[in-house]
């Protein structure tokens, strides 16, 4: 069963990567959402899909024999919440950027790293003449 989900995981990662490289930042958010789910899927698959029984110790018994693998479940539970926090914060950041800069184009957001200017030759001449 698991190899099929490995293929699905690959497709989800590819889609997420393609969206992360978009110009529109809203597509980047969708990419993050898909990537988070892909990551959870990979943890779950790597822990094997062997039993459909939830990992609950029946009353009166001291240990559980068989049942689904509890460890990946615990890891994923943490990951779900964190990826949700990441997406929510990213949305807020992009909303803020949109209001301030008036654009959703990632390439147009160049406050921190302005476009390399073609003035290097000019400035060199100025230095030389000085």
């Amino acid at each position: 069963m698991e190899p099929v989900f490995a293929i699905a995981f690959g497709v989800m990662v590819a889609v997420a990567a393609y969206l992360l490289m978009s110009r529109n930042v809203l597509r980047i958010v969708l990419g993050l959402l898909v990537l988070g789910n892909a990551a959870n899927l990979s943890i779950f698959t790597a822990g094997r899909l062997e039993s459909r029984v939830p990992p609950l110790v029946p009353a009166g018994e001291a240990a559980l024999a068989g049942g689904a693998n509890p460890l990946p479940q615990a890891l994923i539970l943490t990951a779900i919440v964190i990826s949700f926090a990441l997406v929510a914060f990213t949305v807020v950041l992009f909303e803020s950027a949109h209001r301030r800069l008036g654009t959703l184009d990632a390439d147009a957001m160049r406050e921190a790293e302005p476009l390399p200017q073609a003035t290097t030759k000019k400035s060199r001449k100025v230095e030389e003449s000085a």
Binding site: I7, F9, A17, V34, P55, V57, P116
Partner: protein, 766 residues
């Protein structure tokens, strides 16, 4: 203990010297004087052929010690450094009176003196490199004494880059030498000379160490920084750039001469570059009128002479090196200080504009004459003995006629330079100068007078310096005790004939100096194609390369950063997976089942996200992905996950619709076709790599030890029956705490961003 204490004493007193020097007090010279006296006290022991060794623990784990060694060679240098330092410090107290940044000047020049002492006393290669680089740094700061001038900055940078680049080569050579000799101790390396010289790595060591020494000692074609360093105040030029720092390369080569002296490459490199430097310096000196630059080029000639002499094997060459070294330090420092006096008193140092100064400055004129006598190599100064030794060494060497011819031309140039500096400015008719000159005070004259008198005294009584200093130092260079009696008069020998010829040539050239100089200065090719211009081109080229590289790797586009990160990450994982044989496929045998529907649904809904035409359908498709994953959790025995996933997914959709629902989401992806292809390629590669990695994991047998532990331990140790809950709140409780913290921080940060946004819009509407 004594050597470490002396070096540390010099370092520790730097701020103190700065404080005294800042008030231009002549007492500033006491510190170098104390050091000089201390080394004089050690002199008798060394003169008898002794060697002072001491080792202190420094970094024993990698075999590096704070070891010091005092033998004839290092003592000669130590005496020159502290003695000339004394003269220069005293001189500067008057010369720089009233200048700004005096505290900085004296602090740095004292640090320089301490570093020099450390470098020549070090008995550990790594320690030597450390002090060596310290002299480069202090030299950089001293050349850049007036950083508001463009010329000053450029010269400081040039000197620094050239010497430090050489220092890097030398560091590589030192590491090689240390690994070949299996020790960093210079004393032990000198004991293993034959073994090291026979090693196949010896040529590499020789080239690297020679490169470092050549850069430091301004050998052609790395000589131009030294002439440009003349923008520094005259005390710096006299001290660093004629008497001490530029001799450090000479010291290094002399130090390792016992190891490599018979190596053909060593001889070829040193004599070749030394002779080339002598010629280059002579030609360039003939073109200049600036007294300091004339002297700087003659220093380059002398450094070339020293390097050439080291390259010639034999005891006589060793004696010639030491004698010439001492002679040059004495007269060159003296003449530099005289040039400084002329500059200070008249306001110009253009030798073509100066004349008749003997009427105003009789004492200075006499001192200059004595220094010039030594430089020109005329009796009774010690310079005469040094020049004869150079000729004698050259005549005895193989292919010596070529070296002697070079030396003849260089020495004739020295005669001209000596005459220009010491005679031309003072004799003849009076010339108008910007200021009316007169002899300076005691502080500025004392140093040059003592240095000039020593040159004469050693010439009249060579035994004063011969047995005590020159013979032990020459023994250190030769690698074995030698006996030699230094004398001024050798009788009628070929050397004497050469000396006479030198003088005739020199006087002949001097009488036509103006014509020769203007004709030489008219050769523009030297300026246009010399190493100085080459340096400028190199720096400009370096800057444009770095600008280009920066623009390439840092285009400022988020998309391109993501693309590069994904590409490199997946390529690295893919290549490792294939090359290391980790690539493995599990069996797809049991794939047909009801869960296949979930997998297909995941693939379809993911593709739908990528193809979404507007934001709402994109969110719906992304929600589909999330809910499908939740379904998988539900069917595969993870109800807790499923419920969390359902609620979080629903919440995410609501938040996104609420906040960004009204933002424009273009109908079409605005990427151009080429970008889209590139992104598709990278995304596809990332996806394939991710799938392959997961498949390789699945092909391995499952290791269930951890899961089994939780199955067995939950009830007895944590008293819980829901294993997932127990792991989260008990076994991995700290992780959960971290998760809650992350969530809280994200909420606070989001609230802060939104609050700032509200404030900004409120201000805008006002």
């Amino acid at each position: 203990m004594i050597l470490l204490a002396l070096v540390m004493f010099a370092f520790a007193l730097a701020p103190f010297v700065g404080a005294i020097g800042g008030r231009s007090s002549p007492f500033v010279a006491i510190i170098p004087l104390l050091l000089f006296v201390a080394f004089c006290v050690l002199l008798p022991e060394i003169a008898e052929g002794g060697t002072l060794l001491e080792t202190h623990r420094w970094i024993p784990s990698i075999g590096i010690a704070a070891a010091f060694r005092l033998d004839g060679l290092s003592l000669t240098f130590a005496l020159l450094i502290s003695g000339i330092g004394c003269a220069v410090f005293l001189y500067a107290s008057a010369y720089l009176r009233g200048e700004p940044r005096l505290v900085r000047f004296y602090t740095i020049i004292t640090l320089f003196m301490a570093s020099m002492l450390g470098a020549v006393l070090a008995d550990d290669l790594v320690l030597l490199v450390v002090f060596w680089e310290l002299t480069s740094i202090t030299s950089f700061l001293l050349i850049g004494h007036t950083p508001e001038q463009e010329r000053s900055r450029r010269s400081a940078q040039q000197g620094f880059l050239v010497t430090v680049a050489g220092g890097l080569a030398m560091l590589a050579g030192v590491i090689l030498l240390g690994s070949v000799a299996d020790t960093f101790s210079i004393t032990e390396i000198l004991g293993k000379g034959e073994m090291i010289a026979a090693d196949p790595l010896a040529p590499a060591i020789i080239i690297l160490i020679a490169a470092g020494a050549f850069a430091k000692s301004a050998q052609a074609p790395l000589h131009s920084w030294l002439a440009n360093a003349m923008v520094a105040p005259t005390p710096v030029s006299a001290y660093l750039h004629s008497a001490t720092m530029v001799k450090l390369g000479v010291y290094l080569l002399a130090r390792f001469d016992p190891v490599f002296s018979d190596h053909a490459l060593w001889i070829a490199l040193l004599t070749g570059f030394g002779a080339a430097t002598m010629l280059t310096g002579s030609v360039l000196a003939m073109r200049e009128t600036d007294l300091k630059r004339v002297l700087a080029y003659s220093t380059i000639v002398s450094l070339g002479t020293l390097i050439m002499l080291i390259g010639i094997p034999g005891e006589l060459a060793a004696v010639a090196v030491v004698t010439f070294l001492i002679v040059h330090a004495l007269y060159k420092a003296c003449l530099f200080l005289v040039a400084g006096i002329i500059d200070h008193e008249t306001g110009t140092r253009d030798s073509s504009a100066l004349g008749g100064m003997r009427h105003f400055m009789p004492i200075t004129a006499a001192v200059a004459l004595m220094g010039g006598l030594s430089m020109a190599g005329l009796p009774p100064s010690i310079g005469f003995a040094a020049k004869e030794l150079v000729y004698e060494t050259g005549l005895a060497a193989s292919a010596g006629w070529a070296l002697v011819a070079v030396a003849l031309l260089a020495n004739a140039a020295m005669v001209v330079v000596a005459a220009v500096v010491a005679v031309r400015c003072f004799s003849g008719d009076l010339s108008a100068t910007p200021k009316t000159p007169h002899d300076p005070g005691f502080a500025m004259l004392a140093g040059p007078i003592v240095l000039a008198l020593l040159g004469l005294l050693f010439g009249i009584a060579p035994w004063l310096v011969g047995n005590g200093l020159i013979v032990p130092a020459a023994s250190a260079i030769a690698g074995e005790p030698i006996t030699f009696t230094l004398s001024l008069w050798h009788g009628f020998t070929p050397m004497l004939a050469l000396s006479v010829l030198t003088l005739v040539l020199g006087v002949f050239a001097y009488r036509r100096w103006s014509t020769i100089r203007s004709r030489m200065a008219g050769i523009h090719q030297i300026d246009d194609w010399g190493p100085d211009k080459l340096y400028d081109r190199l720096i400009i080229g370096l800057q444009s390369v770095s600008t280009w590289v920066t623009h390439q790797i840092q285009p400022g586009s988020l998309r391109s950063y993501v693309a590069r990160t994904l590409f490199i990450m997946s390529l690295a994982a893919f290549v490792t997976l294939i090359l290391r044989g980790g690539y493995e496929l599990p069996s797809f045998a049991n794939s047909l089942g009801p869960d296949l529907v979930i997998a297909i649904l995941l693939i379809v809904s993911s593709l739908a996200v990528a193809r979404a035409r507007n934001f709402v359908s994109g969110i719906v498709a992304a929600g589909m992905v999330g809910f499908t994953v939740a379904l998988l959790f539900l069917f595969q025995g993870a109800p807790d996950l499923a419920f969390t996933q359902f609620s979080v997914e629903a919440l995410a959709i609501i938040i996104m619709l609420a906040i960004v629902g009204r933002m424009p989401f273009r109908d079409r992806d605005s990427r151009i076709h080429k970008e889209r292809l590139r992104d598709l390629f990278i995304a596809g590669g990332t996806g394939v790599t991710a799938a392959l990695v997961l498949l390789a994991v699945l092909a391995q047998p499952f290791d269930g030890r951890l899961s089994d532990f939780f199955r067995a331990a939950s009830v007895p140790e944590a008293h819980g029956r829901n294993l997932v809950n127990v792991i989260l709140v008990d076994f991995r409780a700290l992780d959960t705490l971290g998760e809650i913290t992350v969530l809280g921080l994200a909420a606070i940060a989001a609230a802060a961003v939104l609050a700032g946004l509200r404030r900004a819009t409120a201000e805008k509407s006002k």
